[in-house]
Protein backbone atom coordinates (compact mmCIF):
# COMPACT_ATOMS: atom_id res chain seq x y z
CA UNK A 1 0.00 0.00 0.00
CA UNK A 2 1.47 3.29 -1.04
CA UNK A 3 2.40 5.93 1.45
CA UNK A 4 0.85 9.36 1.34
CA UNK A 5 2.67 11.44 -1.24
CA UNK A 6 3.01 15.10 -0.55
CA UNK A 7 2.09 17.30 -3.47
CA UNK A 8 4.81 19.84 -3.98
CA UNK A 9 4.19 23.33 -5.14
CA UNK A 10 6.13 22.63 -8.33
CA UNK A 11 3.49 20.24 -9.58
CA UNK A 12 0.80 22.82 -9.14
CA UNK A 13 2.78 25.80 -10.31
CA UNK A 14 0.79 26.15 -13.48
CA UNK A 15 -2.50 26.24 -11.65
CA UNK A 16 -1.92 28.62 -8.76
CA UNK A 17 -1.31 32.31 -9.09
CA UNK A 18 2.01 34.01 -8.49
CA UNK A 19 0.88 35.27 -5.12
CA UNK A 20 0.80 31.75 -3.75
CA UNK A 21 4.30 31.01 -4.91
CA UNK A 22 5.62 34.13 -3.25
CA UNK A 23 3.86 33.10 -0.07
CA UNK A 24 1.43 35.97 0.00
CA UNK A 25 -1.70 33.87 -0.21
CA UNK A 26 -2.36 30.66 1.69
CA UNK A 27 -2.71 27.22 0.15
CA UNK A 28 -5.20 25.23 2.17
CA UNK A 29 -6.19 21.62 1.74
CA UNK A 30 -9.88 20.85 2.22
CA UNK A 31 -9.17 17.19 2.48
CA UNK A 32 -10.94 14.10 1.28
CA UNK A 33 -12.44 13.53 4.68
CA UNK A 34 -14.55 16.56 5.45
CA UNK A 35 -18.10 16.80 6.71
CA UNK A 36 -19.28 19.17 4.02
CA UNK A 37 -17.77 17.77 0.88
CA UNK A 38 -20.51 15.20 0.40
CA UNK A 39 -18.11 12.38 -0.09
CA UNK A 40 -14.42 12.10 -0.79
CA UNK A 41 -13.59 15.26 -2.66
CA UNK A 42 -10.34 17.06 -2.11
CA UNK A 43 -10.12 20.77 -2.79
CA UNK A 44 -6.94 22.77 -2.84
CA UNK A 45 -7.85 26.29 -1.98
CA UNK A 46 -5.80 29.36 -2.56
CA UNK A 47 -6.95 31.88 -0.01
CA UNK A 48 -6.40 35.55 0.58
CA UNK A 49 -7.59 35.72 4.15
CA UNK A 50 -11.09 34.28 3.91
CA UNK A 51 -11.57 34.96 0.22
CA UNK A 52 -11.05 32.22 -2.30
CA UNK A 53 -8.77 33.17 -5.18
CA UNK A 54 -8.68 29.77 -6.78
CA UNK A 55 -9.99 26.32 -6.02
CA UNK A 56 -8.46 23.20 -7.57
CA UNK A 57 -10.54 20.03 -7.18
CA UNK A 58 -8.65 16.75 -6.84
CA UNK A 59 -10.89 13.78 -7.53
CA UNK A 60 -10.35 10.06 -7.88
CA UNK A 61 -10.61 9.01 -4.25
CA UNK A 62 -13.63 6.87 -5.04
CA UNK A 63 -12.48 5.54 -8.42
CA UNK A 64 -13.90 2.04 -8.65
CA UNK A 65 -12.94 0.95 -12.13
CA UNK A 66 -16.56 0.19 -12.96
CA UNK A 67 -16.08 0.70 -16.69
CA UNK A 68 -13.28 -1.85 -16.86
CA UNK A 69 -15.07 -4.24 -14.56
CA UNK A 70 -18.20 -4.16 -16.70
CA UNK A 71 -16.12 -5.23 -19.70
CA UNK A 72 -15.30 -8.43 -17.85
CA UNK A 73 -18.87 -9.45 -17.09
CA UNK A 74 -21.83 -10.38 -19.28
CA UNK A 75 -24.48 -7.75 -19.91
CA UNK A 76 -26.88 -8.99 -17.23
CA UNK A 77 -24.22 -9.43 -14.58
CA UNK A 78 -22.82 -5.99 -15.35
CA UNK A 79 -26.24 -4.47 -14.62
CA UNK A 80 -25.60 -5.08 -10.92
CA UNK A 81 -22.69 -2.68 -10.98
CA UNK A 82 -24.70 0.12 -12.53
CA UNK A 83 -26.59 0.80 -9.30
CA UNK A 84 -23.40 1.70 -7.53
CA UNK A 85 -22.34 4.58 -9.77
CA UNK A 86 -24.63 7.39 -8.72
CA UNK A 87 -25.85 5.79 -5.55
CA UNK A 88 -28.61 8.33 -4.95
CA UNK A 89 -30.20 7.65 -8.33
CA UNK A 90 -29.85 3.89 -8.49
CA UNK A 91 -33.05 3.27 -10.44
CA UNK A 92 -32.04 5.91 -12.98
CA UNK A 93 -28.71 4.19 -13.61
CA UNK A 94 -30.49 0.90 -14.19
CA UNK A 95 -32.88 2.65 -16.53
CA UNK A 96 -30.25 4.19 -18.77
CA UNK A 97 -28.29 0.93 -18.99
CA UNK A 98 -31.41 -1.02 -19.94
CA UNK A 99 -32.42 1.62 -22.47
CA UNK A 100 -28.97 1.40 -24.05
CA UNK A 101 -29.16 -2.39 -24.37
CA UNK A 102 -32.71 -2.17 -25.71
CA UNK A 103 -31.62 0.34 -28.32
CA UNK A 104 -28.60 -1.76 -29.25
CA UNK A 105 -30.60 -4.94 -29.84
CA UNK A 106 -33.87 -3.28 -30.82
CA UNK A 107 -35.87 -4.83 -28.02
CA UNK A 108 -39.47 -3.85 -27.32
CA UNK A 109 -40.68 -2.89 -23.84
CA UNK A 110 -44.36 -3.44 -22.99
CA UNK A 111 -46.35 -0.32 -21.93
CA UNK A 112 -46.97 -1.52 -18.38
CA UNK A 113 -43.23 -1.85 -17.84
CA UNK A 114 -42.66 1.62 -19.26
CA UNK A 115 -45.24 3.17 -16.94
CA UNK A 116 -43.83 1.45 -13.86
CA UNK A 117 -40.34 2.53 -14.92
CA UNK A 118 -41.55 6.14 -15.05
CA UNK A 119 -43.18 5.90 -11.62
CA UNK A 120 -40.09 4.47 -9.96
CA UNK A 121 -37.72 6.86 -11.73
CA UNK A 122 -39.69 9.87 -10.57
CA UNK A 123 -39.90 8.53 -7.02
CA UNK A 124 -36.14 8.07 -7.11
CA UNK A 125 -35.79 11.66 -8.32
CA UNK A 126 -37.76 12.85 -5.31
CA UNK A 127 -35.63 10.69 -3.00
CA UNK A 128 -32.43 12.11 -4.48
CA UNK A 129 -33.66 15.68 -4.14
CA UNK A 130 -34.59 14.97 -0.53
CA UNK A 131 -31.03 13.88 0.26
CA UNK A 132 -29.76 16.96 -1.56
CA UNK A 133 -32.05 19.22 0.43
CA UNK A 134 -31.22 17.55 3.72
CA UNK A 135 -27.45 17.74 3.29
CA UNK A 136 -27.48 21.22 1.71
CA UNK A 137 -29.54 22.60 4.56
CA UNK A 138 -27.37 20.73 7.08
CA UNK A 139 -24.28 22.42 5.67
CA UNK A 140 -26.00 25.78 6.03
CA UNK A 141 -26.82 24.91 9.65
CA UNK A 142 -30.52 24.03 9.28
CA UNK A 143 -30.35 20.65 10.95
CA UNK A 144 -34.02 19.86 11.41
CA UNK A 145 -34.60 19.88 7.64
CA UNK A 146 -32.17 16.96 7.43
CA UNK A 147 -34.25 14.89 9.82
CA UNK A 148 -37.52 15.73 8.07
CA UNK A 149 -36.16 14.88 4.62
CA UNK A 150 -34.91 11.50 5.70
CA UNK A 151 -38.25 10.73 7.27
CA UNK A 152 -39.93 11.14 3.87
CA UNK A 153 -37.16 9.29 2.12
CA UNK A 154 -37.89 6.26 4.30
CA UNK A 155 -41.35 6.08 2.74
CA UNK A 156 -39.89 5.96 -0.76
CA UNK A 157 -37.30 3.39 0.29
CA UNK A 158 -40.13 1.25 1.68
CA UNK A 159 -41.81 1.33 -1.73
CA UNK A 160 -38.55 0.36 -3.45
CA UNK A 161 -38.06 -2.46 -0.99
CA UNK A 162 -41.58 -3.66 -1.69
CA UNK A 163 -40.96 -3.96 -5.44
CA UNK A 164 -37.29 -4.78 -5.64
CA UNK A 165 -36.41 -6.44 -2.39
CA UNK A 166 -33.71 -3.93 -1.49
CA UNK A 167 -33.84 -0.34 -0.27
CA UNK A 168 -31.24 1.18 -2.53
CA UNK A 169 -29.50 -1.15 -4.98
CA UNK A 170 -32.51 -2.89 -6.43
CA UNK A 171 -31.37 -3.70 -10.03
CA UNK A 172 -35.11 -3.87 -10.67
CA UNK A 173 -35.02 -2.87 -14.35
CA UNK A 174 -33.85 -5.52 -16.77
CA UNK A 175 -33.38 -5.27 -20.57
CA UNK A 176 -36.87 -5.73 -21.94
CA UNK A 177 -38.82 -4.55 -18.94
CA UNK A 178 -38.79 -5.27 -15.25
CA UNK A 179 -37.54 -8.15 -13.13
CA UNK A 180 -41.07 -9.04 -12.00
CA UNK A 181 -44.45 -7.44 -11.58
CA UNK A 182 -45.21 -5.05 -8.74
CA UNK A 183 -47.13 -6.51 -5.76
CA UNK A 184 -50.73 -5.65 -4.96
CA UNK A 185 -49.82 -3.21 -2.18
CA UNK A 186 -47.76 -1.04 -4.54
CA UNK A 187 -50.60 1.16 -5.71
CA UNK A 188 -51.85 1.89 -2.21
CA UNK A 189 -48.37 2.71 -0.97
CA UNK A 190 -47.72 5.13 -3.83
CA UNK A 191 -51.12 6.79 -3.43
CA UNK A 192 -50.49 7.20 0.27
CA UNK A 193 -47.20 8.89 -0.54
CA UNK A 194 -48.84 11.16 -3.12
CA UNK A 195 -51.42 12.15 -0.52
CA UNK A 196 -49.05 13.26 2.18
CA UNK A 197 -46.01 14.53 0.32
CA UNK A 198 -47.27 17.91 -1.02
CA UNK A 199 -47.90 19.05 2.55
CA UNK A 200 -44.38 18.01 3.47
CA UNK A 201 -42.86 20.06 0.66
CA UNK A 202 -44.82 23.00 2.01
CA UNK A 203 -43.25 22.29 5.37
CA UNK A 204 -39.71 22.48 3.97
CA UNK A 205 -40.54 25.64 2.07
CA UNK A 206 -41.95 27.20 5.20
CA UNK A 207 -38.66 26.52 6.94
CA UNK A 208 -36.32 27.71 4.24
CA UNK A 209 -37.72 29.69 1.33
CA UNK A 210 -38.35 32.99 3.09
CA UNK A 211 -35.87 32.44 5.90
CA UNK A 212 -33.61 35.53 6.03
CA UNK A 213 -30.61 33.48 7.15
CA UNK A 214 -31.02 31.08 4.26
CA UNK A 215 -31.53 33.95 1.82
CA UNK A 216 -28.42 35.68 3.11
CA UNK A 217 -26.33 32.58 2.51
CA UNK A 218 -27.69 31.67 -0.90
CA UNK A 219 -28.65 34.85 -2.76
CA UNK A 220 -26.04 36.02 -5.25
CA UNK A 221 -23.71 33.15 -4.35
CA UNK A 222 -22.23 31.30 -7.29
CA UNK A 223 -23.92 33.03 -10.20
CA UNK A 224 -23.71 31.02 -13.42
CA UNK A 225 -24.55 32.75 -16.69
CA UNK A 226 -26.32 30.70 -19.37
CA UNK A 227 -23.47 31.12 -21.84
CA UNK A 228 -20.97 29.76 -19.33
CA UNK A 229 -23.30 26.92 -18.51
CA UNK A 230 -23.47 25.81 -22.14
CA UNK A 231 -19.76 26.24 -22.72
CA UNK A 232 -18.97 24.06 -19.75
CA UNK A 233 -21.52 21.42 -20.69
CA UNK A 234 -23.58 21.84 -17.54
CA UNK A 235 -26.96 20.10 -17.58
CA UNK A 236 -29.76 19.46 -15.15
CA UNK A 237 -31.21 21.82 -12.54
CA UNK A 238 -27.98 23.85 -12.56
CA UNK A 239 -28.61 24.72 -16.21
CA UNK A 240 -32.32 25.28 -15.72
CA UNK A 241 -31.68 27.73 -12.91
CA UNK A 242 -29.70 29.88 -15.35
CA UNK A 243 -32.65 30.22 -17.67
CA UNK A 244 -32.30 27.50 -20.30
CA UNK A 245 -35.27 25.14 -20.30
CA UNK A 246 -33.50 21.97 -21.36
CA UNK A 247 -34.80 18.72 -19.96
CA UNK A 248 -34.10 15.41 -21.66
CA UNK A 249 -37.55 14.17 -20.72
CA UNK A 250 -38.96 16.73 -23.16
CA UNK A 251 -35.95 17.04 -25.49
CA UNK A 252 -35.69 13.35 -26.40
CA UNK A 253 -38.48 11.55 -24.53
CA UNK A 254 -37.88 7.97 -23.50
CA UNK A 255 -39.91 5.28 -21.80
CA UNK A 256 -43.24 6.94 -22.54
CA UNK A 257 -42.59 10.39 -21.05
CA UNK A 258 -44.30 12.06 -23.99
CA UNK A 259 -47.68 10.95 -22.66
CA UNK A 260 -47.46 12.84 -19.40
CA UNK A 261 -48.11 16.54 -18.85
CA UNK A 262 -45.54 18.32 -16.72
CA UNK A 263 -43.67 21.62 -16.68
CA UNK A 264 -39.97 22.31 -16.66
CA UNK A 265 -39.22 24.75 -13.85
CA UNK A 266 -36.66 27.43 -14.69
CA UNK A 267 -35.28 30.48 -12.96
CA UNK A 268 -33.19 33.27 -14.42
CA UNK A 269 -30.88 34.36 -11.59
CA UNK A 270 -28.49 31.44 -11.78
CA UNK A 271 -27.45 31.67 -8.15
CA UNK A 272 -27.70 29.15 -5.34
CA UNK A 273 -31.18 30.30 -4.35
CA UNK A 274 -32.44 29.83 -7.92
CA UNK A 275 -31.11 26.27 -7.98
CA UNK A 276 -32.88 25.61 -4.68
CA UNK A 277 -36.19 26.88 -6.09
CA UNK A 278 -35.80 24.81 -9.27
CA UNK A 279 -35.25 21.59 -7.35
CA UNK A 280 -38.18 22.21 -4.99
CA UNK A 281 -40.48 22.78 -7.96
CA UNK A 282 -39.10 19.68 -9.68
CA UNK A 283 -40.23 17.58 -6.74
CA UNK A 284 -43.77 18.86 -7.22
CA UNK A 285 -43.66 18.15 -10.95
CA UNK A 286 -42.44 14.64 -10.25
CA UNK A 287 -45.50 14.07 -8.09
CA UNK A 288 -47.67 15.14 -11.01
CA UNK A 289 -45.99 12.62 -13.31
CA UNK A 290 -46.33 9.81 -10.78
CA UNK A 291 -50.02 10.57 -10.35
CA UNK A 292 -50.69 10.52 -14.09
CA UNK A 293 -48.70 7.34 -14.63
CA UNK A 294 -50.44 5.57 -11.79
CA UNK A 295 -53.90 6.61 -13.00
CA UNK A 296 -53.23 5.36 -16.49
CA UNK A 297 -51.31 2.21 -15.56
CA UNK A 298 -52.13 -0.37 -18.26
CA UNK A 299 -52.48 -4.09 -17.67
CA UNK A 300 -50.30 -6.61 -19.41
CA UNK A 301 -46.84 -8.14 -19.40
CA UNK A 302 -43.97 -6.49 -17.61
CA UNK A 303 -41.15 -7.86 -19.73
CA UNK A 304 -40.61 -8.50 -23.40
CA UNK A 305 -41.32 -11.87 -25.03
CA UNK A 306 -38.12 -11.96 -27.02
CA UNK A 307 -36.55 -15.14 -25.69
CA UNK A 308 -33.22 -14.41 -27.29
CA UNK A 309 -32.59 -11.66 -24.74
CA UNK A 310 -35.10 -12.16 -21.96
CA UNK A 311 -35.18 -15.32 -19.85
CA UNK A 312 -38.45 -17.27 -19.84
CA UNK A 313 -40.52 -17.44 -16.64
CA UNK A 314 -39.63 -20.33 -14.36
CA UNK A 315 -43.03 -21.95 -14.72
CA UNK A 316 -42.43 -22.59 -18.40
CA UNK A 317 -39.18 -24.44 -17.82
CA UNK A 318 -40.92 -27.62 -16.76
CA UNK A 319 -43.07 -27.90 -19.85
CA UNK A 320 -41.31 -26.36 -22.84
CA UNK A 321 -38.03 -27.56 -24.35
CA UNK A 322 -37.33 -24.27 -26.15
CA UNK A 323 -37.74 -22.40 -22.89
CA UNK A 324 -35.17 -24.66 -21.26
CA UNK A 325 -32.73 -24.16 -24.09
CA UNK A 326 -33.15 -20.38 -24.01
CA UNK A 327 -32.74 -20.33 -20.24
CA UNK A 328 -29.59 -22.42 -20.49
CA UNK A 329 -28.06 -20.23 -23.18
CA UNK A 330 -28.85 -17.00 -21.38
CA UNK A 331 -27.47 -18.22 -18.08
CA UNK A 332 -24.27 -19.81 -19.35
CA UNK A 333 -23.16 -17.60 -22.19
CA UNK A 334 -25.48 -14.61 -22.11
CA UNK A 335 -27.04 -12.92 -25.09
CA UNK A 336 -25.00 -11.75 -28.07
CA UNK A 337 -26.04 -8.35 -29.36
CA UNK A 338 -25.12 -7.30 -32.92
CA UNK A 339 -22.03 -5.18 -33.47
CA UNK A 340 -22.35 -1.45 -33.17
CA UNK A 341 -22.41 1.46 -30.76
CA UNK A 342 -25.20 3.52 -29.23
CA UNK A 343 -25.38 6.52 -26.96
CA UNK A 344 -28.49 6.87 -24.82
CA UNK A 345 -29.06 9.62 -22.28
CA UNK A 346 -31.70 10.19 -19.60
CA UNK A 347 -32.40 13.04 -17.22
CA UNK A 348 -31.00 12.13 -13.84
CA UNK A 349 -31.62 14.42 -10.85
CA UNK A 350 -28.20 15.90 -11.54
CA UNK A 351 -28.30 16.35 -15.27
CA UNK A 352 -27.70 14.31 -18.38
CA UNK A 353 -26.73 10.76 -17.55
CA UNK A 354 -25.64 8.91 -20.65
CA UNK A 355 -24.26 5.52 -21.57
CA UNK A 356 -22.14 4.94 -24.65
CA UNK A 357 -22.34 1.22 -25.21
CA UNK A 358 -20.23 -0.49 -27.82
CA UNK A 359 -20.56 -4.13 -28.69
CA UNK A 360 -18.32 -6.35 -30.76
CA UNK A 361 -20.83 -9.19 -31.07
CA UNK A 362 -19.63 -10.98 -27.96
CA UNK A 363 -21.39 -11.77 -24.69
CA UNK A 364 -19.58 -9.05 -22.76
CA UNK A 365 -19.80 -5.31 -23.48
CA UNK A 366 -16.73 -4.13 -25.37
CA UNK A 367 -16.78 -0.59 -24.01
CA UNK A 368 -19.19 1.05 -21.60
CA UNK A 369 -18.63 4.76 -21.13
CA UNK A 370 -20.74 6.57 -18.53
CA UNK A 371 -21.24 10.25 -19.26
CA UNK A 372 -22.00 11.24 -15.70
CA UNK A 373 -23.45 14.66 -14.86
CA UNK A 374 -21.50 15.23 -11.65
CA UNK A 375 -18.13 14.82 -13.41
CA UNK A 376 -18.99 17.54 -15.89
CA UNK A 377 -20.80 19.81 -13.43
CA UNK A 378 -17.96 19.75 -10.92
CA UNK A 379 -15.68 21.53 -13.39
CA UNK A 380 -17.52 24.81 -12.84
CA UNK A 381 -16.65 24.89 -9.14
CA UNK A 382 -13.45 26.93 -9.64
CA UNK A 383 -15.41 29.32 -11.83
CA UNK A 384 -18.21 29.79 -9.33
CA UNK A 385 -16.05 30.12 -6.26
CA UNK A 386 -13.80 32.98 -7.38
CA UNK A 387 -14.19 35.89 -5.04
CA UNK A 388 -16.43 34.14 -2.53
CA UNK A 389 -15.61 33.27 1.06
CA UNK A 390 -14.64 29.83 2.31
CA UNK A 391 -18.00 29.50 4.01
CA UNK A 392 -19.73 30.03 0.67
CA UNK A 393 -17.69 27.23 -0.82
CA UNK A 394 -19.63 24.80 1.32
CA UNK A 395 -22.90 26.15 -0.07
CA UNK A 396 -21.54 25.89 -3.61
CA UNK A 397 -20.53 22.26 -3.35
CA UNK A 398 -24.01 21.51 -2.08
CA UNK A 399 -25.79 23.45 -4.74
CA UNK A 400 -24.04 21.84 -7.70
CA UNK A 401 -25.30 18.56 -6.17
CA UNK A 402 -22.45 16.22 -6.85
CA UNK A 403 -22.31 12.59 -5.93
CA UNK A 404 -18.76 11.31 -5.79
CA UNK A 405 -19.67 7.90 -7.11
CA UNK A 406 -20.80 9.67 -10.25
CA UNK A 407 -17.66 11.79 -10.49
CA UNK A 408 -15.10 9.07 -10.01
CA UNK A 409 -16.93 6.06 -11.37
Amino acid sequence: MAELTEVTLDELRHLVSDRAIEGESVLLNMGPQHPSTHGVLRLLLELDGEQVINCIPDIGFLHTGIEKNMEAKTYIKAAVMTDRLDYLNTIGNNLVYCLAIEKLVDLDVPPRAQAIRVILTELQRIASHLVWLGTHALDLAAMSVFLYCFREREMILDILEMVGGQRMMTTYFRPGGLWRDVPVEFEDAVRQFLRIFPARIDEYEALLTKNPLFLERTRKIGVLTPQDALRWGVTGPTLRASGIAHDLRKFQPYSGYEQYKFDIPTQTDGDTYARYLVRMEEMRQSLRIVGQALDGLPFGAVISNNRKYVPPPRAELGTSMEALIHHFKLWTEGFLPPEGAVYVAVESPRGELGVYLESDGGAKPYRVYWRTPSFVNLQILPLLSKGHLVADLVALIGTIDIVLGDVDR
Binding site: T5, E11, K68, G233, I244, A341, A345, R367, R371, V376
Partner: protein
Amino acid sequence: MDNTLQAACDAIVERFSAEQSASRQQITLKLQPQNIVSACRTLRDEFDFEVLAGETAVDYWPQMAPRFHVIYLLLSLKQHARLTLRVPVEGSNPSLPSIEGVYPNANWHEREIWDMFGINFEGHPDMRRILMPNDWEGHPLRKDYPLGYEEVQYSFNFDEIDVRKPYAKG
Protein backbone atom coordinates in the same frame (compact mmCIF):
# COMPACT_ATOMS: atom_id res chain seq x y z
CA MET B 1 -32.97 12.90 -40.63
CA ASP B 2 -33.39 16.57 -39.90
CA ASN B 3 -32.42 19.05 -42.64
CA THR B 4 -30.09 21.16 -40.55
CA LEU B 5 -28.34 18.10 -39.17
CA GLN B 6 -27.97 16.80 -42.70
CA ALA B 7 -26.52 20.15 -43.78
CA ALA B 8 -24.02 20.07 -40.92
CA CYS B 9 -22.94 16.53 -41.75
CA ASP B 10 -22.56 17.35 -45.44
CA ALA B 11 -20.45 20.40 -44.65
CA ILE B 12 -18.11 18.44 -42.41
CA VAL B 13 -17.84 15.57 -44.88
CA GLU B 14 -16.97 18.00 -47.63
CA ARG B 15 -14.55 20.28 -45.83
CA PHE B 16 -12.65 17.81 -43.72
CA SER B 17 -13.02 14.64 -45.80
CA ALA B 18 -14.91 12.77 -43.13
CA GLU B 19 -16.77 9.49 -43.52
CA GLN B 20 -20.37 9.39 -42.48
CA SER B 21 -22.11 6.34 -41.14
CA ALA B 22 -25.42 5.84 -39.39
CA SER B 23 -26.65 3.07 -37.16
CA ARG B 24 -29.81 2.92 -35.06
CA GLN B 25 -30.69 6.52 -36.01
CA GLN B 26 -27.40 7.88 -34.70
CA ILE B 27 -24.95 9.60 -37.06
CA THR B 28 -21.20 9.12 -36.71
CA LEU B 29 -18.56 11.09 -38.63
CA LYS B 30 -15.05 9.69 -38.84
CA LEU B 31 -12.31 12.34 -39.00
CA GLN B 32 -8.56 12.53 -39.07
CA PRO B 33 -6.73 13.83 -35.98
CA GLN B 34 -5.37 16.99 -37.58
CA ASN B 35 -8.86 18.17 -38.54
CA ILE B 36 -10.64 17.69 -35.24
CA VAL B 37 -10.15 21.15 -33.77
CA SER B 38 -11.36 23.02 -36.85
CA ALA B 39 -14.25 20.61 -37.31
CA CYS B 40 -15.38 21.18 -33.73
CA ARG B 41 -15.03 24.91 -34.15
CA THR B 42 -17.12 24.83 -37.31
CA LEU B 43 -19.79 22.74 -35.65
CA ARG B 44 -19.92 25.04 -32.65
CA ASP B 45 -19.96 28.34 -34.51
CA GLU B 46 -21.82 27.64 -37.72
CA PHE B 47 -24.12 24.79 -36.88
CA ASP B 48 -24.99 25.55 -33.22
CA PHE B 49 -23.57 22.48 -31.51
CA GLU B 50 -23.12 24.37 -28.26
CA VAL B 51 -22.49 21.52 -25.86
CA LEU B 52 -19.85 18.81 -25.71
CA ALA B 53 -21.79 16.10 -23.96
CA GLY B 54 -18.91 13.67 -23.53
CA GLU B 55 -15.51 12.59 -24.75
CA THR B 56 -14.01 9.16 -24.42
CA ALA B 57 -11.84 6.60 -26.19
CA VAL B 58 -12.11 2.96 -27.18
CA ASP B 59 -9.19 0.55 -27.43
CA TYR B 60 -9.27 -1.93 -30.31
CA TRP B 61 -6.14 -3.88 -29.52
CA PRO B 62 -5.25 -6.29 -31.04
CA GLN B 63 -7.97 -6.61 -33.67
CA MET B 64 -7.73 -3.27 -35.38
CA ALA B 65 -5.10 -0.72 -36.25
CA PRO B 66 -5.10 2.21 -35.56
CA ARG B 67 -5.56 1.07 -32.02
CA PHE B 68 -7.49 3.88 -30.38
CA HIS B 69 -10.61 5.69 -31.47
CA VAL B 70 -11.39 8.91 -29.60
CA ILE B 71 -15.11 9.59 -29.52
CA TYR B 72 -16.68 13.03 -29.20
CA LEU B 73 -20.37 13.32 -28.37
CA LEU B 74 -21.87 16.66 -29.40
CA LEU B 75 -25.28 18.03 -28.54
CA SER B 76 -27.21 20.87 -30.11
CA LEU B 77 -30.09 22.32 -28.13
CA LYS B 78 -31.25 24.59 -30.92
CA GLN B 79 -31.36 21.95 -33.62
CA HIS B 80 -32.54 19.18 -31.35
CA ALA B 81 -29.77 16.92 -32.51
CA ARG B 82 -26.85 14.78 -31.41
CA LEU B 83 -23.73 13.95 -33.36
CA THR B 84 -20.84 11.58 -32.74
CA LEU B 85 -17.31 12.16 -34.05
CA ARG B 86 -14.71 9.41 -34.19
CA VAL B 87 -11.00 10.00 -34.57
CA PRO B 88 -8.62 7.07 -35.07
CA VAL B 89 -5.27 7.48 -33.31
CA GLU B 90 -2.11 5.38 -33.68
CA GLY B 91 -1.09 3.03 -30.92
CA SER B 92 2.53 3.97 -30.23
CA ASN B 93 2.82 7.35 -28.50
CA PRO B 94 -0.75 8.33 -29.28
CA SER B 95 -1.35 12.03 -29.45
CA LEU B 96 -3.85 14.44 -30.93
CA PRO B 97 -4.75 18.12 -30.58
CA SER B 98 -6.88 19.17 -27.65
CA ILE B 99 -10.28 20.78 -28.15
CA GLU B 100 -10.17 22.51 -24.81
CA GLY B 101 -10.04 25.85 -26.59
CA VAL B 102 -13.35 25.14 -28.30
CA TYR B 103 -15.25 23.44 -25.47
CA PRO B 104 -13.73 24.23 -22.03
CA ASN B 105 -15.26 21.21 -20.35
CA ALA B 106 -13.06 18.96 -22.47
CA ASN B 107 -10.34 19.75 -19.90
CA TRP B 108 -11.28 17.00 -17.47
CA HIS B 109 -12.47 14.60 -20.17
CA GLU B 110 -9.07 14.71 -21.84
CA ARG B 111 -7.27 14.30 -18.54
CA GLU B 112 -9.34 11.21 -17.94
CA ILE B 113 -8.50 9.82 -21.39
CA TRP B 114 -4.81 10.44 -20.68
CA ASP B 115 -5.14 8.69 -17.34
CA MET B 116 -7.10 5.71 -18.59
CA PHE B 117 -5.67 5.22 -22.09
CA GLY B 118 -2.41 7.10 -22.32
CA ILE B 119 -3.46 9.33 -25.22
CA ASN B 120 -1.68 12.65 -25.01
CA PHE B 121 -3.47 15.85 -25.98
CA GLU B 122 -1.33 18.61 -27.44
CA GLY B 123 -2.10 22.06 -26.23
CA HIS B 124 -3.85 20.94 -23.07
CA PRO B 125 -2.94 23.26 -20.19
CA ASP B 126 -2.91 20.67 -17.41
CA MET B 127 -2.08 17.13 -18.51
CA ARG B 128 -2.07 15.21 -15.22
CA ARG B 129 -3.67 12.08 -13.92
CA ILE B 130 -7.12 12.69 -12.59
CA LEU B 131 -8.65 9.47 -11.29
CA MET B 132 -5.67 7.28 -10.41
CA PRO B 133 -3.01 8.30 -7.87
CA ASN B 134 -0.27 10.54 -9.24
CA ASP B 135 2.41 7.89 -9.13
CA TRP B 136 0.36 5.10 -10.73
CA GLU B 137 2.00 3.26 -13.59
CA GLY B 138 0.09 2.07 -16.56
CA HIS B 139 -3.17 3.08 -18.17
CA PRO B 140 -6.01 0.98 -16.76
CA LEU B 141 -8.62 0.96 -19.51
CA ARG B 142 -6.28 -0.37 -22.18
CA LYS B 143 -7.07 -3.89 -23.25
CA ASP B 144 -3.61 -5.17 -22.35
CA TYR B 145 -3.88 -3.91 -18.77
CA PRO B 146 -5.02 -6.69 -16.41
CA LEU B 147 -8.22 -6.35 -14.44
CA GLY B 148 -6.43 -6.84 -11.12
CA TYR B 149 -8.67 -9.70 -10.15
CA GLU B 150 -7.84 -11.14 -6.74
CA GLU B 151 -8.48 -14.81 -6.13
CA VAL B 152 -11.67 -15.35 -4.17
CA GLN B 153 -11.39 -17.07 -0.80
CA TYR B 154 -13.70 -20.07 -0.71
CA SER B 155 -13.66 -22.63 2.06
CA PHE B 156 -11.34 -25.01 0.20
CA ASN B 157 -8.59 -22.46 -0.38
CA PHE B 158 -9.23 -20.21 2.60
CA ASP B 159 -6.02 -20.95 4.46
CA GLU B 160 -3.66 -20.71 1.51
CA ILE B 161 -4.94 -17.29 0.53
CA ASP B 162 -5.06 -16.16 4.15
CA VAL B 163 -1.32 -16.67 4.47
CA ARG B 164 -0.60 -14.49 1.46
CA LYS B 165 -3.12 -11.72 2.19
CA PRO B 166 -1.58 -8.53 3.61
CA TYR B 167 -3.36 -7.82 6.88
CA ALA B 168 -2.78 -4.54 8.66
CA LYS B 169 -1.05 -4.36 11.97
CA GLY B 170 -2.64 -2.24 14.67
